[in-house]
Subunit: 314 residues, 2 copies
């Protein structure tokens, strides 16, 4: 059994690769909910939805978020009524937010709602939120603290970042699904997907007790670099490394994870960083990490699992 | 200045006729909110929206509710997620419900939200909810009391009705717009539109103090029959008259309003009922009341206003 920790796009791609090569009951994906937010009275879970849509084969590969074949009639009508349009919600995607909000208001947990959606959409793996409690990522800028989606969508990541905090995380316990995966005797490896280390992975790692649980693991923990050839595949990871004065490379990411993980997966392009990363005490795998299509997702997933298996034996 | 009391489709048609022939500041339409309900976590105001869309020229003339050129992608996606689909919400229409719900949750009144929407949509008249407080129409059947939309949409008006109640109405005061219209020195007439007398008009009349205010009016109050030639133009009005043991005709409706109004407008087809209605102490106008297009709406509106003016002089 494999546990994957994932944020949005990059995490969803590797999670999909894992889902393509593992039996349905052998994969659990625990997803960041720090960038969840309430918008237009709806509970929006961007990362959960990206992972869910991707594993259901419903994701929009052009935008990297939302659903394929999406339309925007609701949003146009909302704009005509004077509503807020800075966060785009498609007509299909909206059904997820409305029904999730209804279920949460009726007392369901985010885990239960997610499981129901995954069952309806035919997702061949277990997807769980990192927690069922409220955690909200805040971004520190020169102008103060911003809610994550204000920074990420409204301001398009323009303000230089100074730091992050995850409101509520100290009291937020990992979801039952995440806890069960960690204590499952069948657990063979934990994979940190190539997601943003600051705003996708760190919220998960910061959950109450989670670092301790990970420190007591008996299985390999490997992370995949979201930085390839000095660039972020998607999103502001590179920009954040730079703005925080860190090495804007896979090595910079490896340093962030060094005390936590056993192995680090980088792209072949970054082969020259292997020694420096190994010097952090990490095993390194350099392979093709750019997941341009599902076949590439599966190939990387297989390489990562093989790497983890080697670490397990060593 | 004219005050029109309206429910959904029939009310919206006559209100539109009035809006077409009166200056924008000379018409206020007070709309039933007894059939408002909370669905999927959204505040839905069916009659307000029908009147608003109609006066904005955005209404769907085929369905009689909702918006022209509507699409149903949200609803299909909701069904795929296992959500409730018995009450159909179009992608365009949904924007109204989401934004209204957001505004109400932010503390706005339904009046304020309605005024904002009407301004954005270019509605050439003032549309106000009958009240800003919660009133919910309940329908009594052999199986007990049903919320109105369960009866009307989910069960398609199938269960025979035994009566109605309007939860909250005893404590619900008329909206500021409705009260202002009633006390406006420029008020020239009050028109009860050809809406369902039981579930569209009676909720308005049952508001705290409203019958007293109407009794003290100094202007004519005329009603237009929603029953023409022994048939309801739209909706369950005829069926309700029958099930309640009342005369299923324009005369039956006139009896319901007799103590309240000065004049009653029937269709030429029902000319034979004129004497019986006059015997109730009412002045009667028999004219063309079937509003098949906007020109017919304007024509009926003009006839009704002329009728009211005659009553004023007499």
């Amino acid at each position: 059994m494999i546990l994957a920790l994932a944020g949005g796009v990059g995490g969803a791609k590797l999670a999909n690769g894992l889902a393509r090569i593992l039996p349905a009951d052998q994969l659990i994906v625990a997803v960041n909910t720090g960038d969840d937010f309430e918008h237009l009275g709806l509970h929006v879970s961007p990362d959960l939805d990206t992972v869910m849509y991707t594993l259901a084969g419903l994701n929009n590969t052009e935008t990297g978020w939302g659903r394929a074949g999406e339309s925007w009639r609701f949003m146009a009508a909302l704009g005509a009524l004077g509503g807020e349009t800075w966060f785009n919600l498609g007509d299909l995607d909206l059904a997820t937010h409305v029904e999730r909000t209804r279920r949460l208001a009726a007392g369901e947990t985010l885990s239960t709602a997610t499981a129901a959606f995954c069952a309806r959409l035919g997702v061949p793996a277990k997807i769980v939120p990192m927690t069922d409690q409220k955690v909200r990522t805040m971004v520190q800028t020169a102008d103060g603290w911003l809610p994550f989606q204000d920074y990420f969508v409204r301001l398009r990541c323009a303000p230089p970042v100074r730091g992050f905090r995850f409101d509520g995380v100290a009291r937020a316990v990992p979801s039952a699904g995440l806890l069960q995966a960690l204590s499952d005797p069948a657990l063979a490896a934990i994979v940190i997907c190539p997601s943003n280390p600051f705003v996708s992975v760190d919220p998960i790692l910061s959950l109450a007790g989670l670092r301790d649980l990970l420190a007591r693991r008996r299985v390999p923990l490997v992370a995949v670099s979201p930085i390839v050839g000095g660039k972020a595949i998607k999103g502001p990871a590179l920009k954040m490394l730079q703005e925080l004065g860190l090495d804007p490379s896979a090595l910079g990411v490896a340093r962030l994870y060094a005390k936590l993980i056993d192995g680090f997966v980088i792209d072949r392009q970054d082969d020259a960083l292997t020694q420096a990363i190994a010097a952090l005490g990490l095993r390194v795998l350099a392979t093709d990490t750019i997941m341009t299509d599902p076949a590439a997702q599966s190939a990387l997933a297989a390489s990562v699992l093989e790497f983890a298996q080697r670490l397990r034996r060593s």
